[in-house]
Amino acid sequence: MNSSAPIHPAERRTAPAVVAQGLVKTFGDFRAVSGIDLEVRRGEVFGVLGPNGAGKTTTLKMLATLLPIDGGRAEILGVDVAREPHRIRQLVGVTGQYASVDENLTGRENLWLFGRLQGLSRKRARATAEDLLGRFGLEEAGDKPISQFSGGMRRRLDLAASLITQPPLIFLDEPTTGLDPRTRGQMWDTIRELVAAGSTILLTTQYLDEADQLADRIAVIDHGLKVAEGTPEQLKNSVGSSTLHLRLEDAEQTARAAALTARLLGEVPVLTPESGGLNVALADANQAADVLIALRQADLGITSAAVRQPTLDEVFLTLTGHPGEPEAADESEATTPQPEEVH
């Protein structure tokens, strides 16, 4: 957008947490990030949502001074990222996508080292390490080498390591990828506590439900471009607030059921004719009952029915016209006729 317009500090009293204008990163001929604008307000959780390879990590790394910015500009709390990297590093705590703690040290030693490196006295570094181990439920594991940590413990230690100097801004790159549901829930709680304590958080995720749970606002990126931005509500409404998933007793009847549903809701269902599957977006979850009643009246039996929140795939399909994740592509090609073809 207006990528060349300068940011005028005089025009505002307090600078936003993050302002990025027209960020670009190229690797050889490949544009991993090709002109992304972001504005993160203070005290909010801002989610960057995108599939594998969308450019989430690359964007975050540029903002965290881990990669040089090839085009555009960025400011964090009013400080220019490219010009004053050392100041930026004092403002941002980064938890990368892959654990960035030292495998050769114990949890306690890791935190002590990071504290010392950032100017804490020996005593303060020790006290801070203790405090963080306690807050993250790692007291008992504190003296174990990291190689004996579970994935969830590593992730927590990693996050703890980003909080040593209590930075006002925290970057989290896919904080729960690879965690089991319970550990993921714990991580979400921790993130909410950080926000309650006044931190601003910029996180990336591949999961709409995670962005939905945590983020105040979301930017959806794909192929290095921002394709949508808004609150979780706005994004979900753009694809229908939820989806009704049905499976018919008689797969032969799928087309009939689809026609019925389309007439009722004014919305074209997505079909899996082989297995009698039928998915349709609902503007309002109550419409599910109308569909079920209509099917019963038409003598169309079902074996299962479920109302689900839209998945990232569906958001992607709607926003970009192509499936989100490469893995999902085969499946959705078989199951989701493009809307144009159905018409």
Binding site: P9, T14, A15, H86
Partner: protein, 276 residues
């Protein structure tokens, strides 16, 4: 420039903390020592890292003395004063190779991303392990000297001469390590560092006066040998240990070490900073 200064001051006031524009020298020293502490912990937990500096001195001293002693100097005991300074220089150089490969290996680990994201001096992650490696150079030097003494080496320089030679070996090891640290920052993998380092190390040690007196070599080779910093280190260590004199060779060797650091430390720092 001015607008940026304005806003960071505003941010500082709001946050109630000052934001240093760059690390101070004091910060860099504390951070280097913290990094050295990390490297020492790592050494303690992976004692196989001492393999080269423990066995090479024992093996090489005995092997060289018994194999070449008779041929070059007529007897083992006559050869020891020549070969001990040579082996000191060689083991220090070999220990340096490990400094470079370990750095490369380390840089590929996730924790380096955190080091880069933290407000620390860029030199600390490079210099820290090198400070810790002083332990390795000291181990190598001590064991070489002890093996020599056990085999009948009686240095004329006395205790002070031997301590001087030991100290110079450690200093030379540390200085030369910057060459290999630089290789560590430019190479693509630890194996590549290992390979390139070998190619650098062999001419440095064998095209020197480390194992044979330089005057037995053809003229064109002698000029390289005379220029080679390793030759000066060997001569200086030899002077210290065998005569107890602080000869001009000692000063030349120290000057060479300083020159190596002055060239390769900035090069390493530059290519390390560019990698990020």
């Amino acid at each position: 420039m001015t607008t940026s200064t304005l806003t960071h001051e505003l941010t500082e006031r709001e946050l109630g903390r000052t934001l240093a524009p760059r690390p101070t020298v004091g910060d860099a020293i504390t951070q280097t020592l913290a990094m050295a502490w990390r490297a020492l912990k790592k050494m303690r937990r992976n004692p196989e890292q001492f393999f080269d500096v423990v066995f090479q001195p024992l093996l090489f001293t005995a092997m060289f003395a018994y194999i070449f002693g008779g041929a070059i100097s007529g007897s083992v005991s006559d050869y020891l004063p020549i070969v001990i300074p040579g082996i000191l220089a060689q083991t220090a150089l070999t220990a340096c190779i490990a400094t470079g490969t370990q750095l490369r290996e380390d840089m590929d680990k996730g924790v380096f991303d955190r080091f880069k994201a933290m407000p620390i001096a860029r030199i600390a992650p490079l210099a820290g392990p090198m400070v810790a490696d002083l332990v390795r150079y000291a181990t190598a030097a001590t064991l070489t000297i002890l093996t020599g003494l056990a085999m009948g080496y009686r240095p004329d320089g006395g205790l002070t001469g031997v301590i001087g030679g030991w100290l110079l070996t450690v200093i030379a090891g540390w200085s030369m390590a910057w060459i290999f640290t630089w290789l560590g920052t430019i190479a693509r993998s630890a194996q590549a560092v290992q390979g390139i380092s070998m190619m650098v190390m062999f001419p440095l040690t064998f095209l020197s006066n480390a194992f044979v007196p330089a005057d037995t070599l053809p003229g064109w080779l002698q000029s390289f040998v005379d220029f080679n910093p390793v030759s000066h280190v060997v001569s200086a260590v030899s002077d210290l240990m065998n005569t107890g004199q602080v000869t001009s060779e000692v000063w030349i060797a120290l000057g060479m070490c300083a020159l190596v650091v002055a060239i390769f430390a900035p090069l390493s720092l530059r290519s390390y900073s560019r990698k990020m």
